[in-house]
């Protein structure tokens, strides 16, 4: 496994992510269109699906906001390339991909607002690294747009609020966000842990496809309930009224302090872009979508 191969696959992941939606998201959008009751809502879902199809065909980014680059790595203990080298190869992928695809250069210094021009910067791209057993490397790439990322919320609830408190907090924030995160959204929710862990769980939950169930029954139930509640608000596609305010809720949890109940929300817009590669020590096995 050469570093240049990882760099190459990195560029490919960027390209696929911004030009093709994952199958599960596309399927959900189609289902939403067939079930949406509001006429205006349907026009929005139709426009979204048409836009997605055109992006796929023309190889142009489906949304002009190609986001900031986030990588989620699962590195096998016996994978032949070191983590730091993998990261530096992927930083190169981002720099090259920004020019070649092209992506919009979005990454700036948070104080001077100066744009680096190539979507890299201090701690950017962002890497979330997990060390796992085995000798393969899994890379998930998620470009995250500002419209949905700006709709992120953290609540340090009183533990006595319980599950009802979680639902109420989510409802508040969904109403506050309205059409801003480009609904229908996927709502990532992290509960428990610490403030930062809750947010991390919320973000990471967005990686779980809409057709893949959580292994905890209580989470599955909560996801269903919250999705139904959110889709009864009437906010609808693009906030123009209708049933489909969200495509689904993705949730995860961590054990937490007895005196706290962190709840973190991270919205993902309809352009729920993510791409995935499985690399084994002798080469690339699988790339999605």
């Amino acid at each position: 496994m050469e570093l240049s191969e990882i760099e190459e696959i990195g560029v490919e992941l960027l390209r696929r992510a911004v030009t093709r939606l994952p199958e599960d998201v596309k399927e959900s959008l189609k289902r939403a269109l067939s079930e949406e009751e509001s006429e205006i809502g349907r026009t929005q879902l139709e426009a979204i699906l048409k836009n997605v199809e055109m992006a796929e065909k023309s190889g142009k980014p489906m949304c002009q906001d190609t986001g900031v680059p986030l990588f989620f790595l699962r590195v096998g203990k016996e994978f032949p390339v070191g983590i730091e080298e993998i990261k530096s190869a992927l930083v190169n992928s981002v720099r090259r991909g920004t020019k070649e695809i092209p992506l919009r250069p979005n990454v700036v210094d948070p104080m001077s607002r100066e744009n680096t021009g190539d979507n890299s910067g201090r701690k950017m791209p962002y890497f979330d690294v997990e060390i796992v057993d085995g000798d393969s490397l899994e890379i998930t790439f998620m470009p995250k747009g500002a419209g949905s990322e700006n709709m992120s919320f953290l609540g340090m609830l009183s533990p006595s609020k319980g599950v009802n408190g979680i639902k109420e907090f989510v409802l508040e924030k969904v109403i506050e966000a309205g059409g801003k995160p480009c609904p229908p959204t996927i709502i990532g929710i992290g509960i428990g842990g610490t403030a930062d862990l809750a947010m991390k769980l919320a973000k990471r939950s967005l990686l779980r496809p809409l057709n893949e169930d959580h292994n905890d029954e209580r989470i599955r139930e909560l996801e269903r309930e919250i999705a139904e509640m959110v889709n009864s608000t009437g906010i609808g596609p693009m906030g123009l009224g209708g049933k489909f305010t969200c495509l689904g809720v993705r949730m995860d949890f961590a054990s937490t302090h007895t005196a706290t109940l962190p709840v973190a929300i991270n919205f993902q817009c309809w352009a729920a872009r993510r791409s995935y590669a499985l690399i084994e020590k002798d080469g690339v096995r699988r790339v999605l979508p």
């Binding site: 006429e39 836009n51 980014p61 949304c63 480009c182 906030g239």
Partner: protein
């Protein structure tokens, strides 16, 4: 809900027939403008100077496009709408000073802008957020660019478009569809809390 095909520049009559909820496909010229272009246009007008383009009857698009130059021609890569509320404080003047008849954007605008639109016969069209390719495909030609010194996203691009849409009329004749949806959502909130939070 009716459907219309309209050509720019828009006339008072065009605006008169549009109701909230109507769907429009637009052809002709549209001008991109974000905060800084709005500010500059207002400053020029207030110091008695002329704009380098004619916004009478024009349609302004809240958009910061990605444009590349290929063989001496401009090509639009992606051109979805940006959030219109950033222009809330500037738009009433732009509508009043220049006779703009249409604004395309996402997320809607506030009560002040709704009033200015009603008074000076202007409508707001919502275009699907993020649908950058859909817009790019409707742009048949980039006719020109003004104020490039503001940078690519903030400059005023003149796009020649064909059947740009679906655009949903969401502010017209004093009605603001966004505020109506918002009100409705707030009115069901209590019921939702009762139903889901026992």
């Amino acid at each position: 809900m009716s459907e219309f095909k309209l050509k720019t520049p828009l006339s008072e009559g065009d605006v008169d027939k549009l109701e909230v909820g109507d769907i429009v496909y637009l052809s002709g010229e549209i001008y991109t403008a974000r905060d800084r272009a709005h500010k500059r246009a207002i400053e020029l007008y207030e110091s008695g100077e002329e704009l380098p383009f004619d916004w009478n009857g024009a349609v302004i698009f809240h958009c910061g496009p990605v444009v590349i130059e290929r063989n001496g021609n401009w090509e639009v890569v992606s051109a979805g709408p940006t959030t219109s509320s950033r222009m809330n404080d500037l738009e009433p003047k732009v509508i009043e000073y220049f006779g703009v008849r249409g604004i395309i954007g996402k997320g809607g605008m506030n009560g002040g802008t709704t009033e200015a639109m009603n008074k000076h016969k202007c409508v707001y069209f919502s275009i699907t957020g993020g649908a950058g390719v859909l817009v790019a495909q409707a742009v048949k030609r980039v006719k020109g660019v003004y104020w490039e010194d503001l940078g690519m996203p903030e400059a005023v691009w003149v796009f020649s478009v064909e059947d740009l849409g679906p655009l949903v009329v969401t502010i017209s004749k004093g009605r603001n569809y966004y505020l109506e949806v918002e009100k409705k959502v707030l009115s069901v909130k209590e019921n939702l809390l009762k139903r889901w939070i026992k």
